[in-house]
Amino acid sequence: MSSLHVVNPGLLTTLQDRGRTGYEDRGVPPSGALDELSFAIANALVGNPPGTGALEFTLVGGQFRVGQGGCVIAVTGDMQVFIDDQPVTPYQCHVLRSDAVLKVGRALSGARGYLAVAGGFAAEPVLGSVSTLMRGALGGFAGRALAKGDELPLAAPSQYLPTAARAPGQRLLPQREHQPLRVVLGPQQGHFAPVEIQRFLSESFQVSGQSDRMGYRMTGPVIAHLKGFNIVSDAISTGSVQIPGSGHPIIAMHDRQTTGGYPKIATVIRADLARLGQLKPGDWLSFAEVSVEDAEDLWCERQVLLNAYLDELLMRYRRRS
Protein backbone atom coordinates (compact mmCIF):
# COMPACT_ATOMS: atom_id res chain seq x y z
CA MET A 1 0.00 0.00 0.00
CA SER A 2 1.15 3.46 -0.81
CA SER A 3 1.81 6.44 1.42
CA LEU A 4 2.25 10.20 1.38
CA HIS A 5 5.51 11.60 2.69
CA VAL A 6 5.07 15.07 4.20
CA VAL A 7 7.69 17.38 2.72
CA ASN A 8 5.97 20.52 4.02
CA PRO A 9 2.95 20.25 6.34
CA GLY A 10 1.53 23.73 5.64
CA LEU A 11 0.24 25.98 8.42
CA LEU A 12 -2.14 23.60 10.16
CA THR A 13 -3.07 20.38 8.41
CA THR A 14 -5.10 17.72 10.22
CA LEU A 15 -6.97 14.55 9.32
CA GLN A 16 -10.73 15.10 9.64
CA ASP A 17 -13.93 13.25 8.85
CA ARG A 18 -17.57 13.95 9.75
CA GLY A 19 -16.60 13.95 13.43
CA ARG A 20 -17.39 11.80 16.45
CA THR A 21 -20.94 11.97 17.64
CA GLY A 22 -22.50 10.90 20.89
CA TYR A 23 -19.65 11.71 23.31
CA GLU A 24 -20.43 15.33 24.15
CA ASP A 25 -21.90 14.19 27.47
CA ARG A 26 -18.41 12.83 28.26
CA GLY A 27 -16.64 16.06 27.38
CA VAL A 28 -15.58 15.10 23.85
CA PRO A 29 -16.44 17.67 21.15
CA PRO A 30 -17.40 16.46 17.67
CA SER A 31 -14.37 17.79 15.71
CA GLY A 32 -14.64 17.00 11.99
CA ALA A 33 -14.26 19.02 8.78
CA LEU A 34 -15.10 22.70 9.29
CA ASP A 35 -16.44 22.93 5.74
CA GLU A 36 -18.32 19.63 5.46
CA LEU A 37 -19.50 20.55 1.98
CA SER A 38 -16.04 20.79 0.37
CA PHE A 39 -14.99 17.76 2.43
CA ALA A 40 -17.88 15.66 1.06
CA ILE A 41 -17.14 16.67 -2.54
CA ALA A 42 -13.43 15.78 -2.18
CA ASN A 43 -14.38 12.25 -1.13
CA ALA A 44 -16.95 11.85 -3.90
CA LEU A 45 -14.38 12.95 -6.50
CA VAL A 46 -12.12 9.99 -5.66
CA GLY A 47 -15.02 7.55 -5.28
CA ASN A 48 -14.75 7.25 -1.49
CA PRO A 49 -17.73 6.48 0.72
CA PRO A 50 -18.99 9.72 2.35
CA GLY A 51 -17.23 10.44 5.61
CA THR A 52 -13.86 8.90 4.71
CA GLY A 53 -11.06 10.83 6.48
CA ALA A 54 -9.36 13.58 4.43
CA LEU A 55 -6.69 16.18 5.14
CA GLU A 56 -7.95 19.64 6.07
CA PHE A 57 -5.64 22.54 5.15
CA THR A 58 -5.75 25.92 6.86
CA LEU A 59 -5.04 28.96 4.64
CA VAL A 60 -2.18 27.17 2.84
CA GLY A 61 -1.80 23.57 1.70
CA GLY A 62 1.44 21.62 1.87
CA GLN A 63 3.82 19.48 -0.12
CA PHE A 64 3.77 15.69 -0.33
CA ARG A 65 5.85 13.02 -2.08
CA VAL A 66 3.89 9.97 -3.20
CA GLY A 67 5.15 6.55 -2.04
CA GLN A 68 5.58 3.38 -4.09
CA GLY A 69 2.33 2.34 -5.74
CA GLY A 70 1.00 5.86 -6.45
CA CYS A 71 -2.47 7.10 -5.53
CA VAL A 72 -5.50 8.96 -6.79
CA ILE A 73 -6.29 12.32 -5.18
CA ALA A 74 -8.64 15.28 -5.36
CA VAL A 75 -8.33 18.72 -3.76
CA THR A 76 -11.35 20.90 -2.99
CA GLY A 77 -11.63 24.41 -1.65
CA ASP A 78 -10.30 27.39 -3.58
CA MET A 79 -6.69 26.11 -3.51
CA GLN A 80 -3.84 26.17 -6.02
CA VAL A 81 -2.69 22.64 -6.90
CA PHE A 82 0.56 21.53 -8.61
CA ILE A 83 1.70 18.05 -9.62
CA ASP A 84 5.45 17.92 -10.28
CA ASP A 85 5.36 21.73 -10.52
CA GLN A 86 2.63 21.71 -13.19
CA PRO A 87 -0.56 23.54 -12.20
CA VAL A 88 -3.64 21.30 -12.26
CA THR A 89 -7.30 21.93 -11.53
CA PRO A 90 -8.84 21.43 -8.12
CA TYR A 91 -12.30 19.79 -8.02
CA GLN A 92 -10.95 17.06 -10.26
CA CYS A 93 -9.35 13.72 -9.49
CA HIS A 94 -5.74 13.14 -10.50
CA VAL A 95 -3.65 9.97 -10.74
CA LEU A 96 -0.28 10.38 -9.05
CA ARG A 97 2.61 8.01 -9.88
CA SER A 98 5.20 6.82 -7.36
CA ASP A 99 7.57 9.66 -6.37
CA ALA A 100 5.29 12.36 -7.80
CA VAL A 101 5.29 15.60 -5.80
CA LEU A 102 1.93 17.11 -4.96
CA LYS A 103 1.95 20.72 -3.87
CA VAL A 104 -1.12 22.51 -2.57
CA GLY A 105 -0.59 26.27 -2.41
CA ARG A 106 -2.45 28.99 -0.61
CA ALA A 107 -6.20 29.43 -0.54
CA LEU A 108 -7.31 32.01 -3.12
CA SER A 109 -10.51 32.56 -1.15
CA GLY A 110 -11.74 31.07 2.09
CA ALA A 111 -9.70 29.37 4.79
CA ARG A 112 -9.91 25.60 4.25
CA GLY A 113 -9.05 23.09 1.59
CA TYR A 114 -9.38 19.31 1.55
CA LEU A 115 -7.22 16.55 0.14
CA ALA A 116 -8.96 13.22 -0.32
CA VAL A 117 -7.15 10.06 -1.41
CA ALA A 118 -8.93 7.14 -3.09
CA GLY A 119 -9.38 4.51 -0.37
CA GLY A 120 -8.60 7.01 2.39
CA PHE A 121 -5.78 7.25 4.89
CA ALA A 122 -4.92 4.29 7.10
CA ALA A 123 -5.66 5.83 10.50
CA GLU A 124 -7.16 4.14 13.55
CA PRO A 125 -10.59 5.55 14.49
CA VAL A 126 -10.86 6.82 18.08
CA LEU A 127 -14.40 6.76 19.50
CA GLY A 128 -15.69 6.04 16.00
CA SER A 129 -13.87 8.79 14.12
CA VAL A 130 -10.43 9.55 12.67
CA SER A 131 -10.88 13.31 13.22
CA THR A 132 -7.96 14.97 14.96
CA LEU A 133 -8.67 16.74 18.27
CA MET A 134 -5.33 18.35 19.07
CA ARG A 135 -6.49 19.64 22.47
CA GLY A 136 -7.10 16.06 23.61
CA ALA A 137 -4.41 14.45 21.40
CA LEU A 138 -7.15 12.23 19.93
CA GLY A 139 -7.53 10.72 16.47
CA GLY A 140 -5.77 11.66 13.25
CA PHE A 141 -2.05 10.91 13.07
CA ALA A 142 -0.78 10.78 16.69
CA GLY A 143 -3.53 13.23 17.69
CA ARG A 144 -1.69 16.20 16.22
CA ALA A 145 -1.29 18.33 13.10
CA LEU A 146 0.98 16.99 10.35
CA ALA A 147 4.70 17.62 10.75
CA LYS A 148 7.54 17.63 8.26
CA GLY A 149 8.81 14.11 7.70
CA ASP A 150 5.55 12.34 8.63
CA GLU A 151 4.77 9.25 6.60
CA LEU A 152 1.02 8.97 6.06
CA PRO A 153 -0.01 5.40 5.22
CA LEU A 154 -2.87 5.02 2.75
CA ALA A 155 -5.59 2.41 2.92
CA ALA A 156 -6.14 0.11 -0.04
CA PRO A 157 -8.13 1.95 -2.75
CA SER A 158 -11.47 0.61 -3.90
CA GLN A 159 -11.26 -1.87 -6.77
CA TYR A 160 -11.92 0.57 -9.60
CA LEU A 161 -9.61 3.50 -10.18
CA PRO A 162 -11.34 6.68 -11.31
CA THR A 163 -9.46 8.47 -14.05
CA ALA A 164 -11.11 11.75 -14.86
CA ALA A 165 -13.94 12.58 -12.50
CA ARG A 166 -14.45 16.30 -12.39
CA ALA A 167 -16.90 18.29 -10.33
CA PRO A 168 -19.57 19.85 -12.56
CA GLY A 169 -18.73 23.51 -11.98
CA GLN A 170 -17.70 25.09 -8.72
CA ARG A 171 -21.15 26.20 -7.73
CA LEU A 172 -20.69 24.82 -4.24
CA LEU A 173 -17.85 27.06 -3.06
CA PRO A 174 -19.39 28.25 0.21
CA GLN A 175 -16.84 31.04 0.72
CA ARG A 176 -18.13 32.88 -2.34
CA GLU A 177 -21.45 33.77 -0.70
CA HIS A 178 -21.10 37.14 0.96
CA GLN A 179 -24.31 37.22 2.93
CA PRO A 180 -25.06 37.48 6.64
CA LEU A 181 -24.73 34.30 8.67
CA ARG A 182 -28.21 33.23 9.65
CA VAL A 183 -28.88 32.64 13.34
CA VAL A 184 -31.69 31.61 15.65
CA LEU A 185 -31.67 33.81 18.76
CA GLY A 186 -31.05 32.22 22.14
CA PRO A 187 -30.97 30.19 24.21
CA GLN A 188 -29.85 33.03 26.55
CA GLN A 189 -31.01 36.12 24.68
CA GLY A 190 -32.74 37.13 27.94
CA HIS A 191 -29.27 38.15 29.17
CA PHE A 192 -29.25 41.02 26.67
CA ALA A 193 -31.39 44.15 26.34
CA PRO A 194 -33.37 44.44 23.07
CA VAL A 195 -31.10 47.28 21.92
CA GLU A 196 -28.06 45.00 22.31
CA ILE A 197 -29.72 42.21 20.35
CA GLN A 198 -30.51 44.80 17.68
CA ARG A 199 -26.84 45.85 17.64
CA PHE A 200 -25.80 42.19 17.29
CA LEU A 201 -28.14 41.72 14.32
CA SER A 202 -27.36 44.99 12.52
CA GLU A 203 -23.62 45.65 12.83
CA SER A 204 -20.59 43.99 11.22
CA PHE A 205 -17.90 42.06 13.07
CA GLN A 206 -14.38 41.14 12.05
CA VAL A 207 -12.88 37.67 12.57
CA SER A 208 -9.89 38.11 14.89
CA GLY A 209 -6.48 36.48 14.47
CA GLN A 210 -7.20 34.51 17.65
CA SER A 211 -9.53 32.16 15.85
CA ASP A 212 -9.02 28.46 15.47
CA ARG A 213 -10.86 25.14 15.25
CA MET A 214 -12.17 25.69 18.80
CA GLY A 215 -13.79 29.04 18.14
CA TYR A 216 -13.90 32.23 16.12
CA ARG A 217 -13.33 35.41 18.11
CA MET A 218 -14.83 38.63 16.77
CA THR A 219 -13.65 42.19 17.09
CA GLY A 220 -15.75 45.28 16.44
CA PRO A 221 -18.96 46.24 18.21
CA VAL A 222 -19.26 45.34 21.90
CA ILE A 223 -22.43 43.59 23.09
CA ALA A 224 -23.30 44.56 26.66
CA HIS A 225 -24.81 42.12 29.16
CA LEU A 226 -27.93 42.87 31.13
CA LYS A 227 -27.00 40.90 34.25
CA GLY A 228 -23.33 39.90 34.25
CA PHE A 229 -21.42 37.58 31.99
CA ASN A 230 -21.13 34.47 34.14
CA ILE A 231 -23.79 31.80 33.95
CA VAL A 232 -23.77 28.38 35.53
CA SER A 233 -21.94 26.27 32.93
CA ASP A 234 -24.10 24.55 30.34
CA ALA A 235 -23.58 22.84 27.01
CA ILE A 236 -22.07 24.64 24.02
CA SER A 237 -23.09 23.66 20.49
CA THR A 238 -21.25 24.20 17.21
CA GLY A 239 -22.29 27.66 16.07
CA SER A 240 -23.18 28.89 19.57
CA VAL A 241 -22.45 32.63 19.77
CA GLN A 242 -21.16 33.30 23.27
CA ILE A 243 -20.70 36.79 24.69
CA PRO A 244 -17.83 36.78 27.22
CA GLY A 245 -16.97 39.61 29.62
CA SER A 246 -15.26 41.66 26.90
CA GLY A 247 -18.54 41.83 24.93
CA HIS A 248 -16.79 40.53 21.79
CA PRO A 249 -18.68 37.50 20.44
CA ILE A 250 -17.02 34.08 20.20
CA ILE A 251 -18.57 31.52 17.84
CA ALA A 252 -17.98 27.96 19.05
CA MET A 253 -16.54 25.67 16.38
CA HIS A 254 -16.06 21.91 16.06
CA ASP A 255 -13.19 21.48 18.57
CA ARG A 256 -14.86 23.66 21.25
CA GLN A 257 -15.16 22.77 24.90
CA THR A 258 -18.43 20.92 25.36
CA THR A 259 -19.45 23.11 28.32
CA GLY A 260 -18.90 26.72 29.25
CA GLY A 261 -20.15 29.60 31.32
CA TYR A 262 -20.86 32.55 29.00
CA PRO A 263 -24.38 33.50 27.91
CA LYS A 264 -25.22 32.58 24.33
CA ILE A 265 -27.07 35.26 22.41
CA ALA A 266 -27.72 33.13 19.29
CA THR A 267 -26.75 30.02 17.33
CA VAL A 268 -25.63 29.89 13.69
CA ILE A 269 -27.93 27.61 11.68
CA ARG A 270 -26.60 24.33 10.35
CA ALA A 271 -26.91 25.36 6.67
CA ASP A 272 -24.43 28.22 7.24
CA LEU A 273 -21.78 26.32 9.24
CA ALA A 274 -19.74 25.30 6.15
CA ARG A 275 -19.58 28.94 5.07
CA LEU A 276 -18.61 29.94 8.60
CA GLY A 277 -15.84 27.30 8.48
CA GLN A 278 -14.38 29.06 5.43
CA LEU A 279 -14.07 32.45 7.16
CA LYS A 280 -10.55 33.58 7.99
CA PRO A 281 -9.00 36.22 10.23
CA GLY A 282 -9.73 39.67 8.86
CA ASP A 283 -13.01 38.68 7.17
CA TRP A 284 -16.10 40.71 8.01
CA LEU A 285 -19.41 39.13 8.87
CA SER A 286 -22.85 40.03 10.12
CA PHE A 287 -25.80 38.09 11.48
CA ALA A 288 -29.43 37.82 10.37
CA GLU A 289 -32.26 36.27 12.39
CA VAL A 290 -34.34 33.39 11.01
CA SER A 291 -36.97 31.16 12.59
CA VAL A 292 -36.30 27.58 13.65
CA GLU A 293 -38.70 26.35 10.94
CA ASP A 294 -36.88 28.27 8.20
CA ALA A 295 -33.52 27.04 9.50
CA GLU A 296 -34.77 23.45 9.37
CA ASP A 297 -36.14 23.92 5.83
CA LEU A 298 -32.83 25.42 4.69
CA TRP A 299 -30.84 22.47 6.08
CA CYS A 300 -33.17 19.86 4.61
CA GLU A 301 -33.02 21.58 1.19
CA ARG A 302 -29.22 21.84 1.44
CA GLN A 303 -28.97 18.09 2.13
CA VAL A 304 -31.20 17.24 -0.84
CA LEU A 305 -29.05 19.45 -3.12
CA LEU A 306 -25.79 18.00 -1.82
CA ASN A 307 -26.97 14.42 -2.16
CA ALA A 308 -28.13 15.06 -5.74
CA TYR A 309 -24.76 16.63 -6.53
CA LEU A 310 -22.81 13.74 -5.02
CA ASP A 311 -24.98 11.24 -6.92
CA GLU A 312 -24.23 13.13 -10.13
CA LEU A 313 -20.48 12.78 -9.43
CA LEU A 314 -20.78 9.07 -8.72
CA MET A 315 -22.76 8.56 -11.94
CA ARG A 316 -19.81 9.95 -13.91
CA TYR A 317 -17.65 7.34 -12.28
CA ARG A 318 -19.79 4.44 -13.24
CA ARG A 319 -19.85 5.54 -16.83
CA ARG A 320 -16.09 5.69 -17.01
CA SER A 321 -15.21 2.53 -15.16
Binding site: G27, G136, S233, D234, A235, T238, I269, V292, E296
Partner: protein
Protein backbone atom coordinates in the same frame (compact mmCIF):
# COMPACT_ATOMS: atom_id res chain seq x y z
CA UNK B 1 -39.83 32.29 19.72
CA UNK B 2 -40.36 28.88 21.20
CA UNK B 3 -39.30 30.06 24.64
CA UNK B 4 -41.79 29.65 27.36
CA UNK B 5 -41.55 30.39 31.06
CA UNK B 6 -43.29 27.72 33.03
CA UNK B 7 -44.31 27.86 36.67
CA UNK B 8 -41.59 25.39 37.60
CA UNK B 9 -39.05 27.86 36.10
CA UNK B 10 -38.47 25.25 33.45
CA UNK B 11 -37.79 26.61 29.99
CA UNK B 12 -37.40 24.99 26.58
CA UNK B 13 -35.44 27.03 24.04
CA UNK B 14 -34.07 26.29 20.58
CA UNK B 15 -30.35 25.97 19.86
CA UNK B 16 -31.03 26.84 16.22
CA UNK B 17 -31.84 23.73 14.16
CA UNK B 18 -29.23 21.65 16.03
CA UNK B 19 -30.70 21.07 19.48
CA UNK B 20 -33.21 21.93 22.20
CA UNK B 21 -32.23 23.40 25.51
CA UNK B 22 -34.22 22.43 28.61
CA UNK B 23 -33.23 24.73 31.44
CA UNK B 24 -34.07 23.93 35.07
CA UNK B 25 -32.72 27.18 36.53
CA UNK B 26 -29.58 29.18 37.10
CA UNK B 27 -28.26 27.23 40.11
CA UNK B 28 -25.70 24.64 41.20
CA UNK B 29 -27.85 22.38 43.29
CA UNK B 30 -28.06 18.61 43.78
CA UNK B 31 -31.87 18.52 43.46
CA UNK B 32 -31.84 20.50 40.19
CA UNK B 33 -29.01 18.36 38.83
CA UNK B 34 -30.94 15.23 39.80
CA UNK B 35 -33.90 16.42 37.71
CA UNK B 36 -31.54 16.99 34.77
CA UNK B 37 -30.01 13.50 34.89
CA UNK B 38 -33.40 11.88 35.53
CA UNK B 39 -34.82 13.57 32.44
CA UNK B 40 -31.74 12.59 30.42
CA UNK B 41 -32.39 8.99 31.36
CA UNK B 42 -36.08 9.18 30.41
CA UNK B 43 -35.25 10.78 27.04
CA UNK B 44 -32.57 8.14 26.39
CA UNK B 45 -34.99 5.34 27.30
CA UNK B 46 -37.68 6.81 25.00
CA UNK B 47 -35.32 6.30 21.99
CA UNK B 48 -36.86 9.13 20.01
CA UNK B 49 -36.07 8.81 16.29
CA UNK B 50 -33.74 11.64 15.18
CA UNK B 51 -32.28 12.45 18.63
CA UNK B 52 -28.49 12.35 18.17
CA UNK B 53 -27.13 13.31 21.58
CA UNK B 54 -27.99 14.20 25.17
CA UNK B 55 -25.76 16.55 27.12
CA UNK B 56 -26.69 16.93 30.80
CA UNK B 57 -24.98 19.79 32.64
CA UNK B 58 -25.41 21.35 36.12
CA UNK B 59 -28.74 22.92 35.34
CA UNK B 60 -29.86 22.05 31.83
CA UNK B 61 -30.29 19.19 29.40
CA UNK B 62 -29.35 19.75 25.77
CA UNK B 63 -31.07 17.40 23.33
CA UNK B 64 -29.30 17.33 19.95
CA UNK B 65 -31.32 16.23 16.93
CA UNK B 66 -31.17 15.82 13.16
CA UNK B 67 -33.90 17.90 11.54
CA UNK B 68 -33.91 15.71 8.44
CA UNK B 69 -35.31 12.97 10.73
CA UNK B 70 -37.46 14.89 13.23
CA UNK B 71 -38.67 18.48 13.27
CA UNK B 72 -38.18 20.55 16.40
CA UNK B 73 -41.90 21.14 16.90
CA UNK B 74 -42.50 17.38 17.08
CA UNK B 75 -39.49 16.86 19.33
CA UNK B 76 -40.83 19.50 21.74
CA UNK B 77 -44.16 17.64 21.92
CA UNK B 78 -42.28 14.42 22.78
CA UNK B 79 -40.19 16.14 25.44
CA UNK B 80 -43.15 17.90 27.01
CA UNK B 81 -44.83 14.54 27.44
CA UNK B 82 -41.70 13.15 29.13
CA UNK B 83 -41.40 16.24 31.31
CA UNK B 84 -44.96 15.79 32.52
CA UNK B 85 -44.14 12.32 33.87
CA UNK B 86 -43.13 12.25 37.52
CA UNK B 87 -39.44 11.65 38.24
CA UNK B 88 -38.81 7.99 39.02
CA UNK B 89 -38.33 7.36 42.68
CA UNK B 90 -34.61 7.19 43.36
CA UNK B 91 -33.04 5.12 40.62
CA UNK B 92 -29.89 3.26 41.75
CA UNK B 93 -26.75 5.38 41.55
CA UNK B 94 -23.32 4.12 40.54
CA UNK B 95 -20.94 4.87 43.42
CA UNK B 96 -17.21 4.86 42.73
CA UNK B 97 -14.47 4.36 45.29
CA UNK B 98 -11.58 6.41 43.95
CA UNK B 99 -8.12 6.11 45.58
CA UNK B 100 -6.21 9.38 45.93
CA UNK B 101 -2.59 10.11 46.89
CA UNK B 102 -2.95 13.49 48.64
CA UNK B 103 -0.17 16.08 48.88
CA UNK B 104 3.50 15.79 48.01
CA UNK B 105 4.30 15.52 44.30
CA UNK B 106 0.74 14.32 43.70
CA UNK B 107 -0.93 17.40 45.21
CA UNK B 108 1.44 20.34 45.06
CA UNK B 109 -1.13 22.84 46.41
CA UNK B 110 -2.21 20.86 49.49
CA UNK B 111 0.10 22.75 51.86
CA UNK B 112 -0.81 26.16 50.44
CA UNK B 113 -4.51 25.35 50.63
CA UNK B 114 -4.17 24.08 54.22
CA UNK B 115 -2.38 27.25 55.32
CA UNK B 116 -4.90 29.38 53.43
CA UNK B 117 -7.73 27.82 55.45
CA UNK B 118 -5.63 27.52 58.64
CA UNK B 119 -6.21 23.80 58.72
CA UNK B 120 -3.83 20.92 59.26
CA UNK B 121 -3.13 19.15 55.91
CA UNK B 122 -4.42 15.91 57.49
CA UNK B 123 -7.66 17.71 58.32
CA UNK B 124 -8.01 18.88 54.70
CA UNK B 125 -7.53 15.28 53.55
CA UNK B 126 -10.03 14.06 56.15
CA UNK B 127 -12.65 16.64 55.12
CA UNK B 128 -12.13 15.96 51.40
CA UNK B 129 -12.40 12.17 51.75
CA UNK B 130 -15.20 12.11 54.36
CA UNK B 131 -18.15 12.78 52.05
CA UNK B 132 -19.54 11.35 48.84
CA UNK B 133 -19.73 13.68 45.86
CA UNK B 134 -22.19 13.87 43.01
CA UNK B 135 -20.85 14.07 39.43
CA UNK B 136 -22.73 17.17 38.25
CA UNK B 137 -21.38 17.02 34.74
CA UNK B 138 -18.56 15.94 32.48
CA UNK B 139 -17.05 18.79 30.50
CA UNK B 140 -14.02 20.95 29.73
CA UNK B 141 -11.86 17.98 28.58
CA UNK B 142 -12.78 14.40 27.62
CA UNK B 143 -13.85 12.66 30.84
CA UNK B 144 -13.23 15.63 33.19
CA UNK B 145 -15.69 15.24 36.12
CA UNK B 146 -17.10 18.26 37.98
CA UNK B 147 -18.18 17.23 41.49
CA UNK B 148 -20.61 18.90 43.88
CA UNK B 149 -20.75 18.44 47.65
CA UNK B 150 -17.41 19.94 48.71
CA UNK B 151 -17.26 20.83 52.44
CA UNK B 152 -17.71 24.58 52.83
CA UNK B 153 -14.45 24.82 54.80
CA UNK B 154 -12.59 23.83 51.64
CA UNK B 155 -14.18 26.31 49.21
CA UNK B 156 -11.24 28.15 47.64
CA UNK B 157 -11.28 30.70 44.82
CA UNK B 158 -9.27 29.76 41.75
CA UNK B 159 -5.62 30.60 41.15
CA UNK B 160 -5.00 34.00 39.62
CA UNK B 161 -2.85 32.54 36.87
CA UNK B 162 -3.85 29.13 35.57
CA UNK B 163 -1.16 26.50 35.04
CA UNK B 164 -0.64 25.54 31.40
CA UNK B 165 -0.22 21.86 32.23
CA UNK B 166 -1.57 19.76 35.11
CA UNK B 167 -1.22 15.97 35.32
CA UNK B 168 -3.83 13.41 34.30
CA UNK B 169 -5.79 12.17 37.33
CA UNK B 170 -5.39 15.43 39.26
CA UNK B 171 -7.84 15.98 42.11
CA UNK B 172 -8.40 19.71 42.40
CA UNK B 173 -10.49 22.36 44.14
CA UNK B 174 -11.91 25.42 42.38
CA UNK B 175 -14.47 27.64 44.09
CA UNK B 176 -17.17 25.48 45.68
CA UNK B 177 -16.33 22.47 43.56
CA UNK B 178 -13.82 19.68 43.34
CA UNK B 179 -12.91 17.73 40.23
CA UNK B 180 -11.27 14.59 38.86
CA UNK B 181 -9.15 15.42 35.81
CA UNK B 182 -8.91 12.75 33.14
CA UNK B 183 -6.09 13.85 30.87
CA UNK B 184 -3.26 16.37 31.07
CA UNK B 185 -4.78 19.85 30.80
CA UNK B 186 -4.36 23.52 31.69
CA UNK B 187 -6.06 24.42 34.99
CA UNK B 188 -6.55 27.29 37.39
CA UNK B 189 -7.72 25.03 40.19
CA UNK B 190 -5.70 23.98 43.26
CA UNK B 191 -4.13 20.54 42.98
CA UNK B 192 -4.49 18.58 46.23
CA UNK B 193 -3.99 15.00 45.05
CA UNK B 194 -3.90 12.54 42.20
CA UNK B 195 -5.68 9.28 41.48
CA UNK B 196 -4.02 6.34 39.71
CA UNK B 197 -7.43 5.50 38.18
CA UNK B 198 -7.45 6.44 34.49
CA UNK B 199 -10.88 7.94 33.88
CA UNK B 200 -10.47 8.21 30.10
CA UNK B 201 -8.75 5.58 27.96
CA UNK B 202 -10.05 5.78 24.37
CA UNK B 203 -9.01 2.22 23.50
CA UNK B 204 -10.63 0.63 26.61
CA UNK B 205 -13.91 -1.23 26.15
CA UNK B 206 -15.53 1.35 28.45
CA UNK B 207 -13.50 4.45 27.49
CA UNK B 208 -14.98 6.61 30.27
CA UNK B 209 -15.35 5.78 33.96
CA UNK B 210 -17.66 8.52 35.19
CA UNK B 211 -20.97 9.88 33.96
CA UNK B 212 -23.24 12.70 35.16
CA UNK B 213 -25.29 11.53 38.14
CA UNK B 214 -22.66 9.07 39.46
CA UNK B 215 -21.33 9.32 43.03
CA UNK B 216 -17.66 9.41 43.95
CA UNK B 217 -15.98 8.71 47.32
CA UNK B 218 -12.26 9.31 47.77
CA UNK B 219 -9.99 6.94 49.71
CA UNK B 220 -6.57 8.28 50.77
CA UNK B 221 -3.65 6.09 49.66
CA UNK B 222 0.12 6.40 50.06
CA UNK B 223 2.52 7.43 47.30
CA UNK B 224 3.74 3.80 47.21
CA UNK B 225 0.21 2.49 46.70
CA UNK B 226 -0.25 5.10 43.98
CA UNK B 227 2.85 3.84 42.16
CA UNK B 228 1.67 0.25 42.44
CA UNK B 229 -1.78 1.01 40.95
CA UNK B 230 -0.43 3.44 38.35
CA UNK B 231 1.88 0.67 37.07
CA UNK B 232 -1.20 -1.44 36.22
CA UNK B 233 -2.59 -0.10 32.93
CA UNK B 234 -5.79 -2.14 33.35
CA UNK B 235 -6.47 -0.98 36.91
CA UNK B 236 -10.08 0.13 37.46
CA UNK B 237 -11.49 1.54 40.71
CA UNK B 238 -14.33 -0.34 42.40
CA UNK B 239 -17.92 0.72 42.15
CA UNK B 240 -21.26 -0.44 43.52
CA UNK B 241 -24.90 0.37 42.91
CA UNK B 242 -26.39 2.44 45.70
CA UNK B 243 -30.16 2.57 45.95
Amino acid sequence: MNTEEQETSLRIAPIADHALYIDFGEVIDAAVNQRVTALAKRVADARIEGVTGLIPTYRALTVAYDCTRIRQSRLIAHLERLLAEPDEQAAPVRTWEVPVAYGGDHGIDLLWLSEHHQLDPQEVIRLHSAVSYRVYMIGFMPGFAYLGGLDQQLHTSRRESPRLKTPAGSISIGGMQTAVASVEAPSGWHLIGQTPARSFVPSRQEPFLFGAGDEICFTPISAEEFDELWAQPDYLPQWTWRT
